[in-house]
Amino acid sequence: MPTITLNGQTQEVPEGMSVLEAARMAGIDIPTLCHHEALGAYGACRVCVVWAEGPGQRPGLTAACTTPVSNGLAVQTESAAVQSARRVIFELLLGRSPESESLRSIAKRYGVTSTPYGEGARHDLCVRCGLCVRACREKIGTAAISFAGRGQGRDVSTEFGALSELCIGCGACAAVCPTGMIRVKDSGGERVILRDDLTIARFPLLTCTSCRAPLVTEKFMDLRLQGLPDGQSEVLCLDCKRKRTAATAESFANIWS
């Protein structure tokens, strides 16, 4: 196992780990926006900036999430250079998304409360971390949303900004979105998935077979039921499922007694 130094403390860390994972394992705090345990390293937001130096690593600032650990690597997570670069990166992000509560609160944790940037920029809540796009494509396997355009015009979008043909309404995109740019709204038996002003998709919700509460979309159910034997198509909400399990357990208990 490689040995690295984190803020002066020597640590043994598993081979193949990133500096970010190693630091978090050691209880050292490094902020991230585009990182998610379930998805691979992406290296887009750059707020996980650290100073690293060692064999095969030119001394300098680097993104912790995409820098692999190696024997003899020395990492600083709070040096003056790190703090200064991190401040500028948070300021740049705030310049684009000044209204984002979550971004503001993370930035505040690192001492950034205002920004000189953003004049004339198009403002929205999106930090272009790509988590929604990657979750949809890599984890759900649907690719209902993707990045469109490039540079300043880069946006998360459905094809042609139309209602998505591919979305299954699972809501994974909204679950991983760090800023609330993507939302799931369930009301009146209907699910709407939104990217600020763009409606990604709209679905009627299937109801719980037992209590009739609105539950999931049909396309999502289809995906979940793939590979299961026929007949297991009952849709139960969590409450009813719990009740059903409890009832089954009770009937077993009766048999024994």
């Binding site: 750059r46 707020v47 500028v88 990166i89 740049l92 490039r150 015009g153 880069r154 459905t158």
Partner: protein, 771 residues
């Protein structure tokens, strides 16, 4: 929508994977754009998610989701065009058509595109309409050109004053003619983009027809009129070289109507036409150079594999494969000291060794011909002039690293280069130099041509790989490096065009020969495209270590109109500006870095006293802002903020705080951007701040643009002492802002003036002043 065309296109592909960009090119070329229905149908047929097609179609600027006008106008705003006033021409087109760049007129007559370099830098500023290239365009001339297209004609006016040029690709193949009597006659017409753009095709045709007519053919079955690639000296195109029994005579600015006199008096009569000769300049331009890579360009027919073989072509590949081990080849390249010519300067032999050693049975070799630096056209010229040298370099490389498949990733903006390379690959395949059992030595290696689609970032190797894998051009963090994990996750070696074209020469002449050229750590020669405010524009190949002064004054002939040399920009958007105080710097990797610039791929844009350095920094930042993929924060948000700061300075609204902010932001972008595009985007800002801080300060403290470029800070006035009242300026003014009686001094209504500068260009008496 008819789906047959798409079915037809699809039927030509065995596999869609790895060919998506090519497929979309074909669909767009069929429909003129990418119709929505076509993309949906393509998604259905291929199983590729529609979102991915949409993502690609909106990422690459070459693709359009909207129908285009009857005439497509590409206004070039590459660096050479920029310093020669391209933005004023673009403004004029916008004003005349009432549309912005990227838009189409309501009557569907015109689509206007701003393009960053078409590689015709010697004729800057350049505008391309349809397949016609117009060089040395002024705001006034562009109006005339537009007027004629508006009048409904597809063919441009013959008498337009702008240099009017047939399209690349319309070049006609040489008709073999034969020498007269016992004399050996050889006429070479430059048909690189420069030559083609200046009317080379018509000159070539005139020679062919006249010489056939005069019976100057017959006995030896030897070609006597050659189509050759770029001769380098684009400033005086069309260049024609006439060799009679080995005696060389060169003509410049040749036009078709000059051909008959050259044939009659010189070729038949034996007396050269004195007044059209190219003079000592031509000799001087070439004699200072050492053409290792460009040697064959301009001397052989690039469309004929036999011409290449006749000068020893493919012998190096043959020798390497038959008598050297792959390790020995790598040793030789390492010993030569060759470094990558694409920009980063990584030692080529070492890269090959790393790729050879990377575990894996399948490996790829990619030739990076995505020459995107505005103001640079070395790779285009090498491919157009000597495509087989690149192929031979790739064969040797493939043998060394043990690659079975090669790709050339080339800009779609270079149609002539694409056409010549495609032909060359087909010829090499036919001869058995590519394919299975290459040259009969058991090596299996073939080359596939892949077109880019208008994304500068795809010159970055991980983005290039993403593009080959049917993705948008998003760079990936390194490590892993492509030599270990590249295309489709397999070991991949990426080399630049010029690097690969150098390889056969090293194998032929030996590492020691190459090592002896150049300086301590920079070996061999380097090609530069010398453009901008310079008398002799064109391609220059010199040994590493030559002084910048020598390139600019002795080869380039100095600055036009005796203006003062201010700086030379090297390395494109990633490079820096070298000021007059460093004019004696030896041009090699180490010394250019020491003065705050880089070697880069070889762009060299000369700037004079009329170039504003703040404007130059703003120009490059705006280029990077447009070309940023948008993935990482420092590049996406940082380029926009740099641009805003520079824009405020050039508008006279800057403070000293702007300079501090520029520096702070630049450092973070350099340290923390994901790929080289973002990391180097601040270089032009940092280098101009280092050497031309006084210009920044003049904009800030005095609200003055010393070079008279920044519109907000200049004022056009008419000097009543000089003005003759000829009314020429008033008639040309698009705002009707110039008033006055005939034959009396005029004056400019400052409130109405938009500072387009047309009056300044129009006045023959120098009566309009700019301050």
């Amino acid at each position: 929508m008819a789906t047959d065309p798409i079915d037809g296109i699809l039927s030509r592909y065995v596999e869609v994977t790895g060919n998506l960009i090519s497929l979309l090119h074909e669909v767009q070329s069929h429909f003129g754009y990418l119709p929505k229905d076509a993309l949906y149908y393509l998604a259905k047929r291929t199983g590729i998610p529609i979102t991915r097609l949409y993502s690609i179609a909106t990422f690459y600027h070459f693709f359009s989701l909207k129908p285009k006008g009857r005439h497509e106008i590409h206004a070039c705003t590459g660096t050479a065009c920029h310093v020669k006033g391209a933005s004023r021409i673009l403004d004029e087109v916008k004003r005349k058509l009432g549309i912005e760049a990227g838009e189409t007129t309501l009557d569907m007559q015109f689509t206007l595109n701003e393009v960053r370099c078409v590689g015709a830098c010697s004729f800057a500023p350049v505008v391309v309409v349809g397949d016609r290239t117009y060089g040395e365009v002024s705001s006034r001339k562009i109006s005339e050109i537009l007027k004629k297209y508006q009048a409904g004609s597809d063919e441009p006016l013959a008498e337009t004053t702008a240099k009017e040029l047939p399209a690349p690709g319309s070049a006609r193949k040489t008709i073999a003619a034969e020498a007269l009597g016992s004399r050996s006659i050889n006429v070479r017409v430059c048909m690189g983009l420069g030559g083609v753009a200046a009317g080379g095709a018509a000159v070539l045709k005139a020679f062919q027809e006249l010489m056939a007519e005069k019976g100057l053919h017959g006995t030896f079955g030897k070609k006597c009129v050659d189509l050759v690639g770029c001769m380098g000296f684009c400033a005086k195109d069309v260049i024609v070289e006439v060799r009679i029994d080995g005696v060389l005579t060169a003509y410049q600015f040749v036009k078709p109507n000059m051909v008959s006199r050259i044939v009659d008096e010189h070729i038949v009569g034996g007396v050269p036409v004195k007044e059209w000769l190219s003079g000592p300049e031509y000799e001087q331009f070439h004699s200072k150079q050492n053409k290792v890579v460009l040697g064959a360009c301009g001397t052989i027919d690039p469309e004929d594999i036999d011409a290449y073989c006749a000068i020893g072509g493919y012998e190096s590949a043959n020798r390497a494969i038959s008598s050297m081990t792959p390790e020995k080849v790598i040793e030789e390249i390492k010993a030569s000291g060759l470094k990558g010519r694409g920009g980063a300067g990584f030692p080529t032999g070492l890269k090959w060794e790393l790729c050879r050693r990377a575990p894996g049975d399948r490996k790829f070799l990619i030739c990076n011909a995505d020459e995107g630096d505005p103001g640079a056209f070395m790779d285009r010229a090498v491919i157009e002039g000597d495509p087989h040298a690149v192929i031979e370099g790739m064969i040797i490389g493939a043998y060394a690293i043990s690659a079975s498949k090669g790709y050339v990733y080339i800009r779609a903006e270079y149609p002539l280069a694409v056409q010549r390379l495609r032909r060359a690959i087909a010829q090499a395949r036919e001869r058995g130099y590519l394919g299975t059992n290459v040259l009969g030595h058991g090596l299996d290696f073939d080359i596939h041509l892949k077109l880019g689609a208008g994304a500068f970032v795809c010159g970055e190797e991980t983005a290039l790989i993403a593009s080959l894998e049917d993705q948008i051009g998003e760079p990936k963090p390194k490590p892993p490096f492509p030599v270990n994990k590249g295309l489709w996750g397999l070991p991949t070696c990426i080399n630049n065009v010029e690097t690969l074209a150098t390889i056969p020469k090293i194998v032929k002449n030996g590492a020691a020969w190459f090592d002896a050229i150049g300086t301590g750590k920079s070996k061999g020669t380097k090609i530069f495209s010398l453009v901008g405010k310079i008398n002799r524009t064109g391609l220059v190949e010199v040994p590493m270590g030559v002084a910048l002064r020598e390139i600019i004054y002795e080869i380039g002939g100095g600055i036009p109109k005796n203006k003062k040399f201010k700086a030379v920009q090297t390395g494109g958007p990633s490079g820096g500006c070298i000021p007059a105080m460093h004019i004696d710097v030896p041009v090699d990797y180490e010394n250019l870095t020491a003065v705050g610039s880089i070697m880069g791929s070889g762009g060299m844009v000369v700037m004079d006293e009329d170039t504003c350095m703040v404007d130059v920094a703003k120009y490059f930042v705006s280029f990077c802002m447009d070309e940023s993929c948008g993935q990482c924060t420092p590049c996406r948000e940082g380029t926009r903020e740099l641009y805003r700061l520079l824009n405020e300075i050039t508008a006279g609204k800057g403070t000293l705080g702007h300079l501090t902010a520029l520096e702070e932001l630049s450092v973070v972008m350099r340290d923390m951007s994901l790929c080289a595009l973002g990391k180097t985007a601040p270089n032009p800002v940092l280098s101009t701040l280092r050497y031309f801080r006084d210009e920044y300060e003049a904009h800030i403290h005095r609200q003055k643009c010393p070079a008279g470029v920044c519109k907000s800070l200049i004022k056009f006035t008419i000097d009543p002492e000089i003005c003759t009242g000829c009314t020429a300026c008033a008639r040309q003014c698009p705002q009707k802002a110039i008033h006055g009686e005939k034959k009396k001094a005029h004056n400019i209504d400052q409130a109405a003036c938009i500072k387009c500068g047309i009056c300044f260009d129009t006045c023959k008496f120098g009566g309009v002043t700019k301050a």
